[in-house]
């Protein structure tokens, strides 16, 4: 066992920290909770791309750096620690690029991977539908073959990406007669095709980071199909393992953690035993979560999709984030209800934002209930029925 990092990795982490500190010093952005998923900043993504930090784990022949998932974890861990606005490239870097590397055609790799790596392709995820959440395979969006194209009709919801996204990743039904898991295919399509309409959704925090996306007779060339027709659901399951794998599930509201510790010290609340106890317990749980996620990266470095391991770390970590938000609200007391930029709002309003925003953490990318099912059935071998 070795819980340390190589000299190169330590240097890389320092380099990332230095870059992010300079960014903040220049006033390019302010550290925020949920910035990885909500703060779309194409200029930031461009600067990250210039350093070669998008597609770090992809093979060199496709323009990646051929590095490991531990290396990527160092990078993303620091991005999250600093609350950096990485949403433009996060999804493509985390899961779509890898999916293209595994299942894409040569043409797709040539066209899409360099665009992602250059920080130009921002890909929103079109998986959930109003009637297909945990039971994703029941999705109804249809893709019907028509000559050299597919015609897509249906609705996706909770699609990330604001107005910046220029591609959609899409799961659609290509064989309505097959069993529901076996009639679904994956597509990556330009976001500006005729017939696509996005309507921003306002979430509980008042943020417009997600969309309902409607597809009305959208004509998509067949070359947009990823991998094998009707095998899309199985491919997507792999992708979901990657979607759940990362540090963003533990550190989505990390800026709040630092801020609330600082607040506690500054306001002489350290000796209040409940607060002291709660914050120390959070620190313990945070460090344990970090280790669970490092284990997941090591699984990926072995070349395996991190199935039950990522289910474990994601369910655990989002519960931690929710506890953090609740504990922070208790620390600030009555002031916790003040939102946004109010001059009276402590910790920059992060506690209130996170208290509301973290409710969704245990729902995104697989509810904690679904994840515990996966861990029990796939990880521990318990019978599925």
């Amino acid at each position: 066992m070795d819980f340390g990092f190589t000299e190169e990795q330590n240097k890389f982490r320092q380099e990332v920290c230095h870059f992010l500190e300079e960014e903040i010093k220049e006033g390019y952005w302010k550290p925020a909770c949920d910035a990885w998923i909500q703060d779309f900043n194409p200029e930031f993504t461009k600067r990250v791309a210039q350093r070669g930090w998008i597609g770090l784990t992809w093979p060199k022949e496709h323009g990646g750096q051929g590095l490991g998932y531990i290396d990527r974890l160092l990078l993303t861990e620091e991005m999250l620690r600093y609350g950096a606005p990485a949403a433009c490239h996060w999804f493509a870097d985390r899961q779509i690029g890898g999916s293209i590397v595994t299942y894409g055609t040569e043409e797709q790799k040539r066209e899409l991977l360099p665009k992602i790596i250059r920080g130009e392709a921002f890909i929103g995820l079109g998986m959930s539908e109003p009637g297909a959440g945990s039971d994703l395979a029941s999705l109804q969006t249809r893709a019907i073959e028509d000559g050299d194209d597919y015609i897509i009709n249906g609705q996706k919801t909770w699609t990330s990406g604001g107005s910046f996204v220029n591609y959609f990743y899409l799961l659609a039904r290509t064989d309505p007669d097959a069993p529901k898991h076996r009639g679904i295919s994956e597509f990556i399509i330009p976001a500006d095709l005729p017939g696509i309409k996005r309507i921003p959704m306002t979430d509980i925090t008042g943020t417009e980071a997600w969309n309902d996306v409607f597809f009305d007779e959208v004509r998509v060339p067949k070359k947009c199909l990823i991998g094998e027709k009707n095998r899309g659901f199985l491919q997507a399951l792999h992708q979901l393992d990657y979607e759940r794998s990362g540090m963003e599930r533990l550190m989505g509201n990390y800026p709040l953690f630092e801020a609330i510790i600082q607040f506690t010290k500054e306001n002489n609340l350290s000796q209040k035993s409940v607060i002291r106890n709660n914050l120390a317990q959070l620190q313990i749980e945070f460090e344990v979560g970090r280790l669970l996620i490092y284990r997941v990266a090591l699984v990926m470095d072995e070349g395996r999709a991190p199935n039950w391991e990522a289910a474990m770390s994601k369910a655990y970590s989002t519960a931690f984030e929710q506890k953090l938000a609740s504990a922070a609200m208790e620390v600030v007391g009555l002031y916790g209800q003040l939102i946004g930029d109010s001059k009276l709002a402590p910790v920059r309003g992060l506690a209130a934002h996170s208290y509301l925003g973290s409710k969704g953490y245990s729902l995104q990318a697989g509810t904690s209930e679904i994840l515990k099912n996966i861990l029990a059935i796939r990880g521990l071998g318990l019978p599925s029925s």
Binding site: A280, V288, L292, R295, L298, M312, E369, K372, G379
Partner: protein, 374 residues
């Protein structure tokens, strides 16, 4: 970063598991709990021959030249088997303390006897009263007397003192900030030892020192040293208990999952019910969290890195996790799990003892709070 064992450690693990499965069935554990000594000389000798007492000590004292991380693997297997006896006391509390703070002469004197299994060691640290493992809790006095010392007072929860040949006694040698560790032979008539009846049947003792003379040469390490040296002993012991606990809860998880697959109610295995699946998922998460946090601290200790915070995290987490795992295991096992015929009680009782030993979760949360600058 790497979270897997080396080939050598895997071999040690397998050898230990096979050996203990054979030599330490629960019938044996029960027998030892009910016996006066709580251990078998015969098994002790076999473990000595396997090199377990010497594993973590340098070759020049007759040891196996391995480190704490290797020892952690063995301790985990001991926890899995609920192994009774003085191996933990002798090696973790006694031997590693001597190795850490003893003079070369003392190491030469004690370690070969310890490694060869000839002598059993333990540590007399805690005392009556609701204490917190800090310097102020040490009231057993060592009074200078003609260049030597006389020790007076009561130590409590001293493991295996009734069979130990040597006690390392943490005593107050100066009213303010003067803690000294003495080694003492237990055959001294001025030591009175009583085995306490405990939840784990693990032979914790009350030890009374009644004007016991100790030669100056028995001062281990420095006279009147800082609490820091004792703290290091406590940290290592706490971490050792974490290793035992992960062996314990890993086994409990396996037993519980197996039971959930086999036990049928309403014509289906109870493990097919989602609530049982989620209980098991929670248990597995607790076990893995305990494993990684414990091994992280063990790795740091082996590498000689400062690890006060990491040990605190490991002991706080593992202590609480062990209690959650035990509670869910009982809930899933149902009524059979609370009978004395079923093996589960061995684990539940030991998990409670280990949770409390060398600082519980509360104690270590406070250390984490300090490390955070709170």
């Amino acid at each position: 970063m790497k979270l897997t064992l080396t080939e050598e450690q895997e071999m040690l693990k397998k050898a230990a598991r096979d050996f203990l499965a054979d030599k330490c069935p629960k019938t044996f554990v029960k027998e030892m709990e009910e016996s006066e000594t709580g251990h078998s000389r015969e098994l002790w000798q076999e473990m000595v021959e396997l090199g377990w007492t010497g594993l973590a000590f340098p070759e020049k004292y007759g040891g196996g030249d391995m480190n704490f991380l290797d020892l952690a693997v063995l301790l985990e297997e001991m926890g899995r088997a609920c192994l009774p006896g003085p191996l933990f006391s002798t090696v973790v509390l006694g031997g590693l303390t001597i190795l850490d703070i003893g003079s070369e002469e003392q190491k030469q004197e004690y370690l070969p006897k310890l490694i060869s299994g000839e002598k059993i060691f333990t540590l007399a640290l805690t005392e009556p009263g609701y204490q917190n493992y800090d310097a102020s809790s040490i009231t057993v006095e060592a009074t200078p007397n003609d260049g030597n010392y006389v020790i007076n007072g009561i130590k409590l929860f001293v493991p295996d003192a009734h069979i130990a040949d040597y006690l390392l006694c943490v005593a107050r040698s100066k009213p303010e900030n003067g803690i000294t560790i003495f080694s003492a032979e237990t055959k001294n008539p001025r030591i009175n030892c009583t085995v306490l009846k405990t939840i784990a049947g693990d032979k914790l003792c009350e030890v009374i020192f009644d004007q016991m003379p100790v030669p100056k040469a028995n001062v281990l390490g420095q006279l009147n040293q800082e609490w820091g040296a004792v703290q290091k002993i406590i940290e290592r012991a706490a971490l050792g208990k974490c290793c035992e606990m992960i062996g314990n809860i890993q086994r409990v998880l396996e037993m519980t999952v197996d039971y959930a697959k086999e036990r049928k109610q309403f014509d289906r295995p109870i493990g097919s019910f989602q609530i049982i699946q989620h209980y098991c998922a929670d248990m597995a998460t607790d076990v893995d969290g305990a494993r990684f946090s414990t091994y992280q601290a063990a790795w740091m200790l082996s590498e000689g890195l400062p690890c006060t915070k990491e040990v605190a995290i490991a002991k706080a987490w593992t202590s609480q996790a062990s209690q959650r795992v035990a509670a869910l295991a009982h809930q899933i096992h149902g009524a059979i799990g609370v009978t004395i015929e079923h093996d589960l009680h061995f684990y539940t009782r030991r998990a409670k003892a280990a949770e409390l030993a060398f600082g519980d979760a509360d104690f270590y949360r406070e250390i984490v709070a300090k490390e955070m600058g709170l």
